[in-house]
């Protein structure tokens, strides 16, 4: 299982942001776009073309599950998506990898001035 998860890593920025936005709750496509924009403070904007292209890949790899339409939604054309258990595991592994990268980066950045 761990080997399976490691085969997904590293994630592309778009995949990472999509999985991260779905980690909290089930969202539709437009909701994912807004959540990604909020998480990145507007620095990373995901277009529908990029979003659904990545969503399709994530669904095929079983990282994301499609829930279909919700009866009470304002727009019946919207479909909802949620993070699968595999997707949550991959996201956790990616966050851990990024955490190591961040720690390594911070350490290197702290050491470098001393060398100079």
């Amino acid at each position: 299982m761990k080997d399976d998860i490691s085969s997904f890593l590293p994630l592309s920025p778009a995949t990472l942001h999509i999985l991260l936005s779905l980690a909290g709750e089930e969202l539709h496509g437009y909701g994912i776009m807004q959540e990604v924009q909020r998480q990145s403070d507007g620095q990373y904007k995901l277009g529908p073309g990029t979003l659904y292209d990545n969503l399709q890949k994530l669904i095929d790899r079983r990282l994301v599950e499609e829930l279909g339409h919700r009866p009470g939604d304002d727009d019946p054309r919207r479909r909802y998506y949620r993070l699968s258990s595999l997707g949550r595991g991959v996201l956790t592994a990616e966050i851990a990898r990024l955490d190591g990268v961040v720690r390594e980066g911070k350490m290197r950045l702290q050491i470098r001035p001393r060398r100079a």
Binding site: T50, D53, R77
Partner: protein
């Protein structure tokens, strides 16, 4: 406009992608109020279009057929419902060929009326008109060809400029007769004395030939053919007259050296008959 373009771009996506995400992408576009943001979505859709057709061959196939819960397809076709490219090209070629053939046929039929019956007016004066009338050798007729209509038929009239100018040179106040109807401004003008000299009875040589009686009424010659009706004669020249009320009927007076009309050539339906004038008792 942007929505229409966005919809067109979405429709150009591969079938599977369009079926799966087309409505959602359209929904996102509809939720966008700002024009600039909508334009960015359009650009994003165009990039997506290129990406899907170049990098995602798995979306190129037709969507899977809907199946019932037990796995049996609801509807199955053995071939794609889209025509093959070769068939489309052949159809286009065939359409152009048929259109070209139809156009050529119409053009050929128009230039060759024997294949398609097209009623065209036949404008041809009698052959005898081409010869100079007797007693008019000194007059050179240079005619212009004008088209006149007579009860829906087309009549070819030859006119003489010299004859048209005659009244102003001689006696404009003298009584005269002219063609009535279209084109009467340049019609032949004949004095009343000459018209009166034409009045008389003209008898055919053979038994089947008709008898024509020409009289002078209200300054105009009247033709009466036994059994064929009566008509006013409209002058075309000093000796030629057209029967206005009788179709295809013309009269040409034949005069001798002294100007006496001793007979008429009666043209009816492309046939000519010479009628000799009956001698008047007053003439002897």
């Amino acid at each position: 406009m942007l929505r229409f373009l966005y919809r067109c771009v979405l429709r150009a996506h591969p079938p599977r992608f369009q079926e799966r995400f087309g409505d959602e992408m359209q929904s996102i576009f509809d939720d966008t109020q700002d024009g600039t943001a909508a334009a960015k979505l359009l650009v994003d859709a165009i990039i997506s279009l290129v990406r899907q057709w170049t990098l995602r061959p798995e979306f190129w196939k037709e969507p899977a057929i809907a199946a019932t819960p037990n796995g049996v397809p609801l509807f199955q076709t053995f071939e794609s419902n889209k025509p093959r490219t070769q068939a489309l090209l052949f159809g286009a070629f065939l359409s152009i060929l048929v259109l070209d053939a139809a156009c050529w046929t119409m053009g050929y039929a128009w230039n060759h009326p024997s294949f398609v019956w097209i009623q065209q007016p036949v404008i041809s004066p009698p052959e005898s008109w081409k010869a100079k009338p007797s007693g008019q050798e000194a007059t050179k007729v240079v005619g212009d060809e004008d088209l006149y209509t007579d009860q829906g038929r087309v009549v070819l009239v030859f006119k003489s400029h010299r004859q048209a100018a005659a009244p102003s040179e001689s006696n404009p106040s003298s009584p005269h007769s002219s063609v009535t109807g279209a084109g009467s401004t340049e019609a032949a003008i004949i004095d009343a004395q000459t018209l009166q000299s034409y009045a008389g009875t003209y008898i055919g040589q053979a038994g089947k030939d008709p008898t024509a009686r020409i009289s002078m009424q209200e300054g105009q010659l009247q033709l009466e053919i036994a059994g064929h009706g009566t008509s006013a004669l409209a002058p075309l020249s000093q000796t030629k007259f057209m029967a206005v009320a009788i179709p295809d009927c013309w009269v040409e007076f034949s005069r001798n050296g002294s100007g006496y009309a001793h007979g008429i050539h009666l043209y009816r339906s492309h046939s000519s008959t010479f009628l000799r004038r009956e001698a008047s008792p007053l003439e002897f």
